[in-house]
């Protein structure tokens, strides 16, 4: 009964803008790609996002932000993750992110940084290919151990 690793993604809208149509489109696309998407809704504080990611054991956090508050919020999220010892979660950003901020965002360890016009396929592939290897390694071990066990059972 070896299970494939089911990718769990937290989609959150930090900050005060209430425009979550983009986030919903992405959530839906990730669902259609077979992922389990925990959608938190709008007006999420960095604390709420990190706490939800921990409780849900998310493989990835996707933040969509249009308000321009990204340089206030993103560093906070990354600090909190570090404080909690979470180092194996992919953090991806999207929304309106000015080019001049991208180096700083990437320096925080936030990847992707998808702007308007990005196709949902691109985001799906990016998430799939950038899940932290330790999370997938766990699944691979699980798989081997499971087939080992069933073999034993068959004997």
């Amino acid at each position: 009964m070896a299970e494939e690793h089911k990718i769990r993604v937290l989609v959150a809208k930090p900050g005060l803008d209430g425009h979550d149509r983009g986030a919903k489109v992405i959530a839906r696309a990730l669902r259609d790609a077979g992922m389990e998407v925990i959608y938190t809704g709008i007006r999420q504080t960095p604390q709420m996002i990190v706490e939800a990611a921990i409780q849900e054991d998310a493989d990835a956090i996707l933040m969509s932000i249009l308000s321009g508050a990204h340089m206030a919020i993103f560093p906070k999220v990354m600090d909190l993750l570090r404080e909690q010892g979470v180092d194996d979660v992919l953090v991806v950003a999207g929304g309106i992110l000015p080019d001049e901020d991208l180096p700083a965002i990437e320096a925080l360890g936030i990847k992707g940084n998808f702007g308007p016009g990005t196709s949902t396929e691109e985001i799906i592939d990016f998430v799939r290919n950038n899940i932290h290897p330790s999370r997938l390694a766990g699944a691979a071990v699980t798989k081997d151990a499971a087939s080992g066990q069933t073999e034993k059972a068959a004997q």
Binding site: R28, D32, E36, Y39, T45, A153, A154
Partner: protein, 335 residues
């Protein structure tokens, strides 16, 4: 800090608990051993199920109930189940949207689960996940089912107390609830009671319960309360929480808690056994042999019954009558 995940869960480490839930959900091979070790520490929490139609306000109601339970200084675990897509296996788990005001309370642990193909309103591993939360020390563990219609009654096998949430204006739909969900309610909640028709809905439920013989006068039998709430306004919530505790006390005092636990354990062991047998069978029969057997049955050279019998023998389950006879004979010859 201990590196053993079971120790960490028992000591209240939230990240370890979250990872444990993932292992349980994924049916990782080590998960059964972990669950076996957590089991002796479980059994203290009251497990409360919330079920009802989609849009009845379950998540909002759960949020309000958790707030009230927090006022009474209890630690709360929540497992919220939403459906997986039957086509892609993906899911959107949106219960957290309604539970935002609980975020940031370290005494509340919320986990969203996708149903992953199970049809009874829960995921296959929901009961085990609730057990992990129980063992981790949460006083009340709330399970919110997927939006349920008539037949999603799996929650009775997982919870001590089942709340069925309905809303005014469902009209004949309440009639439709008669056979399925009506029978599993320990507490009825008419939510959105600020809307017109709440009293009528409550009256209809009362009548249906009396028809079903569910409103006896005897103190030995639980009298299913029908409570009106408005989750968005926060009305009726303390009364609902009181009713939860009354039901818990009733179960203990009447001895029905033991009966309920025994029924649940029986069905759980049977389910585990079926699961194990299914696994053994899958590994004992290669796909080409399956195909050959299926072809034989389809072409009428064999029949489904004898093939099932053959496969049962393959996993070590011979004809039960023969076994019984031979074991009797063995006993006779030995004596």
């Amino acid at each position: 800090m201990s590196t053993d995940i079971v120790e960490r869960v028992l000591s209240g480490d939230r990240r370890a608990l979250a990872r444990m839930v993932t292992l349980i959900e994924n049916e990782a091979p080590e998960a059964r051993d972990y669950l076996a070790r957590l089991y002796p520490q479980s059994g203290r929490a009251q497990i409360v199920g919330f079920t009802g139609s989609p849009g009845a306000g379950k998540s909002t109601l759960v949020t309000q109930v958790v707030r009230e339970l927090r006022r009474r200084d209890l630690r709360i675990g929540v497992v919220a189940v939403d459906p997986s897509s039957p086509f892609t296996g993906g899911a959107i788990l949106g219960d957290r949207i309604r539970m935002q005001e609980l975020a940031g309370d370290p005494q509340v642990f919320i986990r969203s689960m996708a149903s992953r193909g199970s049809l009874g309103g829960l995921a296959a591993s929901t009961r085990d996940v609730a057990r992990a939360l129980d063992a981790a020390g949460y006083d009340v563990v709330i399970i919110e089912t997927v939006g349920a219609g008539q037949a999603e009654v799996e929650i009775v096998r997982a919870a001590h107390t089942v709340l069925v949430v309905t809303v005014p204006g469902m009209g004949d739909d309440i009639q439709a609830l008669k056979a399925g969900i009506l029978e599993i309610a320990d507490i009825f909640v008419v939510n959105k009671a600020d809307r017109p028709g709440a009293d009528q809905t409550a009256a209809e439920l009362r009548m249906l319960l009396s028809l079903a013989g569910k409103q006896p006068k005897s103190a030995e039998v639980w009298r299913v309360p029908i409570l009106k709430t408005s989750a968005t306004l926060g009305a009726g919530i303390p009364e609902l929480v009181d009713a939860l505790f009354r039901h818990r006390a009733f179960l203990s005092e009447s001895g029905q808690l033991t009966q309920r636990n025994q029924r649940q354990v029986r069905s759980e062991v049977l389910a585990l056994l079926q699961h194990t047998l299914g696994q053994r069978l899958r590994s004992a029969v290669a796909e080409d042999e399956w195909q050959r057997l299926i072809d034989e049955v389809v072409e009428r050279r064999a029949n489904p019954y004898s093939v099932a019998e053959l496969l049962a023998r393959r996993v070590g389950l011979g004809d039960s009558k023969e076994d019984a006879v031979s074991s009797r004979e063995g006993a006779t010859s030995a004596s």
